[in-house]
Amino acid sequence: MGDFPILIRALRVRRRGLIGWSVGLALYVAMMLAVYPTVRDDTTFDDLLAEYPEGIRALFGGDVSITSGGGFMSAELFSILPILVSIMAIGAAASLLAGDEERGLIALVLASPLRRRRVIEEVSAMTIITVVVPTTVVAVALLVGGPSVRLDLAVSKAVAACVAVAVFALLHGMVTLTIGAATGRRSRAVAVTSVLLVAGYLAEIVGTIASWAEPLQAASPYHHLIASQPAVDGFATVAIVIVLAVSAGLGVLATVLFDRRDLVA
């Protein structure tokens, strides 16, 4: 101990939550895998969906066959997983920076030789761990459990989908971190990022139905990373690179903003 004190403390205080969420997600994957054979063997699901309006179909992955392994998991798992993992990332980033600042812990840390930049770096590291652990658990659950139900989902596609989710959630974690770094207010960081998360999701849905919302859809990270269905089409490399670059940029911005201001407590 001593090399990464903030990260080590974060792991200790958030360990239970992280494990709990990951176990929950693994169970969710198991449940989806258990349901999958019913869907796989019944093409009427695809026929049924074809009857639905386009907007509803978009919710289930558009024109991709829902009875395929990738299509099924895109609709049933990878549509909701990015939201759940984002909530985890938002919670971690908000409580470890602004939340700990509000209760005076950051002030205590900053009375030690650690620099403010180190706080941002180590909280960023914990945010990365918070998105990597559950997505890895989901990927492993899919790859281990998939063959038993003849889930036709290639390893590369499963990994691509999980990477997309991790990158998407990391972006929201870094937005939270940056707002926390700028304001020192936990509730503000959570509120603003939650609005962005929901807005990005809604922009995707509305953009599919209404043409006026297409510019909004084009700005939505959900659209590029998640709605592109990496479980079917593989890595959305450009979107991943852009979102990672934006996340890194947010980390730099957070460092600058945090360094300039007074601590709130």
Binding site: M1, G2, P5, I8, R9, V13, D100, R103, G104, L105, A107, L108, V109, L110, A111, S112, P113, L114, R115, D262, L263
Partner: protein, 299 residues
């Protein structure tokens, strides 16, 4: 003697509210200096600027000769800090908490167990089960952990019982005797009188007095109470040079005086005296007087 902390023209403004106004203050190396004042007078603000947790609007603070704004980690390694409210993990034991706090300082730490024993702190209990006083002990140990040259302690005696407080004072005196500097705040003036070499009084962000604590005590005057057998005319006493204030209540006079009581005793002796008590003003009374006078002057 060199100054461990120097504050020059320190002003902190939030909108149109002043946290500090043009504060100049020296804290001598190896001294125990107390910062006293009512709530909101700027004690914590001063300490937070010294630690670079907040930045002065104008003016600057230096610690051990380095500008606290720019000095960085090397300086903070030499500073120990006890915040007014110590954030702790309820589930961690005091020992776990202290191990973690020590890990923030890349430094060999002192004998935690010995220090905890002196303060009568049980290291094996979860912090969440500890009383306010015991939590405060965790903070005190953590501030002393890395043997800092400068200790910045915000209300260190808060929540401590008298025995532990005495132990804390001897810990701090020992630190000062080893050349460490202690800069502490308090709103309990008796505490300051017990432990400090020097005292600075803040009110509404301004320094209203600063002096050696003994000079303070010597200069602060006495409160004399005389019970007479029959009512007397207070005007006979008001004219005496060393009397500042007389409050007459029937056959009793209360006088605030400075200097020798000789002339007062001789003046009182002209009447039949039933009782005569004389005691030094407490810092509390003096502080109230200082602050009240300022308010009158400002008003």
């Amino acid at each position: 003697m060199a100054n461990a902390i120097e504050l020059r023209g320190l002003t902190k403004q939030w909108g149109d509210h002043f946290g500090l106004r043009d504060l100049d203050l020296d804290v001598q190396a190896g001294s125990v200096t107390g910062l006293i004042g009512p709530n909101g007078s700027g004690k914590t603000t001063t300490m937070r600027i010294v630690l670079d947790h907040i930045r002065a609007t104008t003016g600057h603070a230096s610690v051990l000769g380095h500008d606290s704004r720019t000095a960085g980690p090397q300086l903070r390694a030499k500073v120990g800090y006890l915040p007014g409210e110590l954030p702790l993990e309820a589930r961690w034991t005091a020992a776990q908490q202290l191990t973690w706090l020590a890990s923030l300082h890349d430094h060999d730490s002192i004998d935690v167990a010995a220090l905890a024993a002196r303060l009568d702190l049980d290291l094996d209990r979860p912090v969440g089960d500890l009383s306010k006083g015991n939590r405060q002990k965790v903070g005190i140990v953590s501030a002393l952990l890395h043997e800092p040259e400068v200790l910045i302690l915000d209300e260190p005696a808060s929540g401590l019982d008298p025995l532990v407080r005495r132990e804390l004072w001897s810990l701090l005196r020992e630190a000062a005797s080893r050349g460490r500097t202690v800069f502490l705040s308090s709103h309990v003036l008796g505490e300051v009188e017990e432990i400090c070499d020097r005292v600075a009084i803040l009110d509404e962000g301004r320094l209203v007095a600063e002096d050696d604590v003994h000079t303070f005590v010597d200069r602060r005057g006495r409160l004399v109470r005389i019970d007479f057998a029959a009512p007397v005319d207070s005007a006979d006493f008001e004219q005496l040079a060393m009397v500042h204030e007389v409050v007459a209540d029937g056959r009793t006079l209360e006088l605030r005086i400075s200097g020798s009581v000789d002339a007062l005793i001789k003046a009182a002796a002209r009447f039949e005296v039933v009782d005569f008590t004389s005691r030094p003003l407490s810092l509390e009374e003096m502080f109230l007087e200082t602050v009240t006078h300022r308010e009158v002057a400002d008003g």
